[in-house]
Subunit: 234 residues, 2 copies
DNA sequence: GTCAATAAGATTGTTGACAATACTACACGC
DNA sequence: GCGTGTAGTATTGTCAACAATCTTATTGAC
């Protein structure tokens, strides 16, 4: 109702060769993914084509395609003849995704640590890691700690020459975002996280690829264990 | 022309909850993927909606969806307003995919080696690896060596409890299938490959997760280097 | 001869209607 | 009371036509 018809063709910029405007399905997917990530659409909630198409004032075709895009990112699950629903992950599935992220983050950060021109990246990494240490002690600052962690991940992702790795990692990180947040609720956990980041950036600075890989894996695995501990509380 | 209308709803069986019949888009995607994998559709070839829809006797809707499915597996690349074409990978992209495969195969095989009930799997692995050694010496046997390697990968994939890992690995393996084959053309390379497999299965037998991981990574990286050597010849 | 503007054709994007299937509530028999 | 069959409704799947955009061939100017 509130959104109404007429989604503007706004430019955000993406991969090369692609046009600067988001296609209609991409715009719809973007709007829906905001709600899923924010939790407005809770896991398990059905997302029905007609309702979405009515809200945005488009036909069901683009909506179908938008839902397929969200499925590709794991945000919704589509069952034949039963439509889409916001993905609900079991604890085992959360663990699986974190395990994959650990392996791939290890690859990403090892390659970055072994990159001769990582010099330009380092100051920004060190900047954010320094901020992290301060924020870890004070959980009251709301999302600032988490925002900084995201910024670090964004920096490292953008520094990865392997585009496909970047795409997979972004998708997996999105799927577990909610759970990463869940695991960063306590001061102790934040200090552990900050320590892992320090270890990682130190390895990058020194060009120690293997140590960077180990640090990255440990960081994600700690994140995994913290998230699962929270999930098992309920 | 030869295919004609009326795709039968044949059952192949897939994930739980899903119906036993393949949906129309899935059937179309399956038919197209055969051709792409077999090379009938060469990299770079455009796959136009109208042509496909005419051949299979369906409207363009299901065809569009089939192409999105193939895009998800990396078999075609879709450019906005320009349609789909069979994915053409640069050497750098081939390297990227192999690097990801190495990391994830390492994860897969480490977890398998550390699995207490890997006993039932071992005889089948050892069987195939033994066959590999004999086949490596005789490149004239056509695809039998490669078939055995695929069987080994299938066994390991099916043994992985991590479903998402399985899905990602299957997709990436499919994308590089053509190049893996390319790298297995010589006797020397096959012997190297067979040696890597022996090392891997030995580690699985002994329950040495780290060694299994290292062997798996080495196996894929050797495969990568062989493929790239072939690609750079031209 | 080369380049740019333009027009014709080809192709993808979107729409609304119809078909097929799945879900829900209710009645009926045991 | 409980399970089963059935009708009605809701929802997804497919289709054919129309709109928007891109590609290609042609023409003209320099």
């Amino acid at each position: 109702m509130t959104a109404g018809a007429g989604l503007a063709r706004q430019a955000i910029g993406a991969s090369p060769g692609a046009p600067l405007t988001l296609s209609l399905p991409e715009q719809i997917a973007a709007r829906l993914s905001e709600r899923i990530i924010a939790g407005t659409y809770a896991p398990g909630r059905r997302v029905m084509e007609q309702a979405v198409s009515a809200e945005f004032g488009v036909s069901r075709g683009p909506v179908r395609e938008a839902l397929r895009l969200l499925e590709k990112d794991g945000l919704v699950t589509i069952l034949p003849r039963r439509g889409a629903q916001v993905t609900r992950l079991s604890i085992a599935e959360v663990r699986e995704i974190f395990d994959i992220r650990a392996a791939l983050n290890g690859l990403r950060d090892r390659q970055i640590a072994e990159d001769p021109d990582r010099g330009r990246l380092l100051p920004m990494l060190e900047d954010n890691v320094a901020r992290l240490a301060g924020l870890a002690r004070d959980p009251g600052e709301g999302d600032e700690y988490i925002e900084t962690v995201f910024e670090l991940n964004r920096l490292l992702n953008d520094a990865t020459p392997n585009r496909r790795l970047r795409a997979i990692l972004s998708s997996l990180a999105l799927q577990t975002l909610r759970y990463s947040r869940l695991g960063l609720a306590t001061v102790g956990r934040r200090q552990q996280s900050a320590g892992n980041w320090q270890r990682l950036v130190k390895a990058v600075r020194e060009g120690d690829g293997l140590e960077a890989q180990r640090a990255a894996e440990q960081r994600v695995l700690d994140s995994r264990d913290a998230a699962i501990r929270e999930l098992e509380k309920t």
